[in-house]
């Protein structure tokens, strides 16, 4: 994880931002206005200020600080909504019942919307009024980006990824890196095949830090004899536009993957072990493109589970070590991939010990939503992770699995900080190591 100097948030955001404060707020309102329709408006109208969403958010649970109340994170845009587009907008404006949102307000909210929210969606499950709180916060981020208030780390990476397809300066292009991984792990990587049924991406975190998990995926695909290929123009699975809150960049980044898939006539885009890559590609790409995509999108665990159920993939039984599995939020809670990992683990005979908060209700690894990349969020992140680590320990598990690279980055960092006795392993690697010959 490339460390960056801690940035004072005021200066963050789009580098060449010479717009006036007023224009930047207008920008925020514009992005915000583009995002809501009746459903979002209905949500904003329904909030009864009951404060329960705080009880779902691990940052409030860990710190007890009221500012982390999820709906409070969307407060600025609720206020803007009342003034601009609510049923009584003119009255709110004329009578000044809701103060106009200022740039200073938005600056204060950057910490709430970016530094203390993984967009994990747990708050949406507790809301008694059925608000999609996570979506409101997502829209909040879009407004912040347009106001040039997205944290520098995320904004720069999103811009770079939109341009070059790679979210950071790399001395060696990922295509070469991918080939090297193949040679080093003795698997031949299929790259840039003209036509293929499956297009595969790789998480940049794994390319840099856990090449073995990329190799594992390749190994299983080769074993299955799948007609797949990587595409050097769309190797990276992540989508920093989603983190930074820029609809435009997220669309551009997703478009790169969609174009490549169309080019090679793929019927399936295989998302590797990466959380938000799955969510943004499976549930948001089509919406951004404004058309139904000509291919399916599956998380690698979904695909492998299908193969297992179809009998194409036979796995050996692993040892009976009690194992805990972390359900990545974007894949399981928000993405809906609940059964697949468990099908794989039962096929592997894993002695699974479910955590109290598991499947759709699991606590977030606190690294997602871009917080891994924002250095200044580390203290807060560690406080929330402590709660999670205890929960894992409580299961008495000796092995700890998950299926998302960002989560592993977060758990590695926390594990190092709390010198935790467990190491976070990838489910796909476990599968790859136990393919029955």
């Amino acid at each position: 994880m490339s460390t960056t100097a801690t940035q004072a948030f005021a200066g963050a955001g789009a580098a060449n931002d010479n717009r006036t404060a007023e224009e930047r707020v207008e920008g925020a309102m514009g992005a915000f206005a583009r995002s809501f329709g009746a459903t979002v408006a209905w949500n904003m109208e329904s909030c009864i200020h009951c404060g329960m969403c705080a009880d779902a958010c691990h940052f409030y649970i860990a710190t007890g600080d009221a500012k982390y109340t999820p709906i409070w994170k969307a407060e600025m845009f609720k206020r803007a909504f009342r003034r601009e587009s609510g049923a009584f907008a003119p009255f709110f404006k004329v009578l000044g019942l809701k103060k106009k949102v200022t740039l200073k307000d938005l600056e204060e909210w950057q910490e709430l919307l970016f530094d203390s929210c993984n967009m994990c969606g747990r708050c949406s499950l507790i809301c008694p009024m059925g608000l999609e709180v996570a979506e409101l916060i997502e829209i909040g981020r879009r407004g912040m980006y347009e106001a040039g208030l997205a944290p520098k780390e995320l904004a720069d990476r999103a811009a770079l990824q939109a341009e070059t397809g790679v979210p950071e300066e790399v001395e060696k292009p990922y295509a070469e890196l991918l080939k090297e991984i193949g040679e080093k792990h003795g698997v031949d990587v299929v790259l840039d095949k003209a036509k293929a049924d499956i297009m595969v991406c790789a998480p940049r975190n794994d390319l840099n830090r856990n090449p073995s998990s990329v190799a594992a995926m390749v190994k299983v695909l080769n074993k299955l004899g799948a007609d797949y290929t990587f595409r050097s123009d769309a190797i990276v699975a992540e989508n920093y536009g989603y983190y930074a809150g820029s609809n435009g960049l997220q669309k551009k980044i997703a478009k790169r993957v969609v174009d490549q898939a169309k080019k090679i006539g793929a019927s399936l885009v295989l998302v590797p072990e990466c959380g938000h890559a799955y969510y943004s590609l499976r549930w948001q790409a089509a919406e951004l493109m404004g058309e139904t995509l000509p291919f399916k999108v599956r998380h690698v665990t979904e695909y492998l589970a299908e193969q297992v159920e179809a009998g194409k993939l036979k796995l050996n039984k692993v040892d009976g070590l009690p194992t805990a599995f972390h359900d990545p939020c974007q894949i399981v809670r928000k993405g809906g991939v609940t059964e697949a990992p468990r099908t794989l683990m039962s096929e592997l005979g894993v002695n699974l010990k479910e955590m109290f908060n598991h499947e759709g209700f699991s606590f977030c690894c606190a690294g997602g939503g871009g917080m891994n990349d924002i250095e200044r969020t580390r203290p807060l992140r560690l406080k929330a992770q402590e709660v999670k680590l205890h929960e894992v320990d409580d299961t008495g598990a000796k092995r700890f699995l998950t299926s998302c690279s960002d989560c592993r980055v977060a758990f590695d960092d926390a594990g190092e900080h709390f010198n935790w006795d467990k190491k976070t392993e990838s489910l796909v690697e476990l599968v790859a190591d136990n393919i029955k010959e």
């Binding site: 329904s46 009880d55 949406s124 059925g130 999609e132 993405g335």
Partner: protein, 222 residues
């Protein structure tokens, strides 16, 4: 025209008109913003999603076991006084007569609870409301997000409950002034209804339904 006649005469009529006008105004204004088409490949069929949406309307009233540890007290108090309010309004003798008279139908089948029992329920409801109000002020997240609308709506509810109990328990003062106060505070509730959080009575089930529906489409947790 005495204050009681005024309260159940022109003022009640005006309040009902404002209520109907305001509620429709607000609902239509929101619905006019339009629903966008969804393109993603759905995990569950439309029928299943509709079914899950329906289920969420009810299930979301009961906390999931993962949350109950933290929200049990808050929800018990909240749902407690809601149940109390519904019992009083729908099963309280004088109220039953009022609704039948207001909407111009007679329903001998409409069950009522004895007056004494309703009084007990009313006192309990007021106590629960007090706890909720104190909690709204003391509980940090709650206090942070509370605004004028929350406290004003509670104030109106207190006015109704206290004047109602006052009339039934025959507190000091003339009966018709207390009854007038009760009806006037109800009129206030009708007038404020569309412009404050009371609209959640209309919002709650569609909101839960849509939330459950969209989550089910993705197979996400509800």
């Amino acid at each position: 025209m005495s204050i009681l006649e005024f309260s159940r005469g022109p003022m009640l009529h005006f309040a009902l008109l404002v209520f109907v006008f305001g509620v429709l105004w607000r609902l239509v204004a929101v619905l006019m913003l339009g629903f966008r088409k969804r393109y993603s490949e759905e995990r569950n069929s439309n029928d299943k999603a509709l079914m899950v949406g329906g289920a969420t309307c009810g299930l979301r009233s009961w906390p999931h076991k993962e949350f109950i540890g933290r929200t049990a007290f808050g929800e018990a108090v909240g749902y407690g006084y809601h149940i109390g309010l519904f019992t009083i309004v729908l099963l309280g003798g004088p109220h039953v007569i009022f609704w039948q008279n207001l909407f111009g139908f007679s329903a001998p089948w409409w069950p009522t609870l004895p007056g004494g029992l309703i009084t007990v329920v009313s006192v309990l409801t007021v106590i629960l409301m007090l706890i909720a109000t104190i909690r709204r002020y003391m509980h940090r997240p709650l206090r942070q997000i509370s605004n004028f609308d929350d406290y004003f709506t509670l104030a109106i509810l207190y006015a109704i409950m206290i004047s109602g109990l006052w009339a039934v328990l025959g507190g000091p003062g003339r009966y018709e002034y207390i009854l007038a106060a009760h009806i006037i505070s109800f009129n206030l509730l009708l007038i404020w209804f569309p412009f404050g959080k009371l609209m959640h009575a209309f919002y709650i089930f569609p909101a839960r339904f849509v939330n459950g529906y969209l989550h089910a489409k993705k197979g996400a947790a509800t």
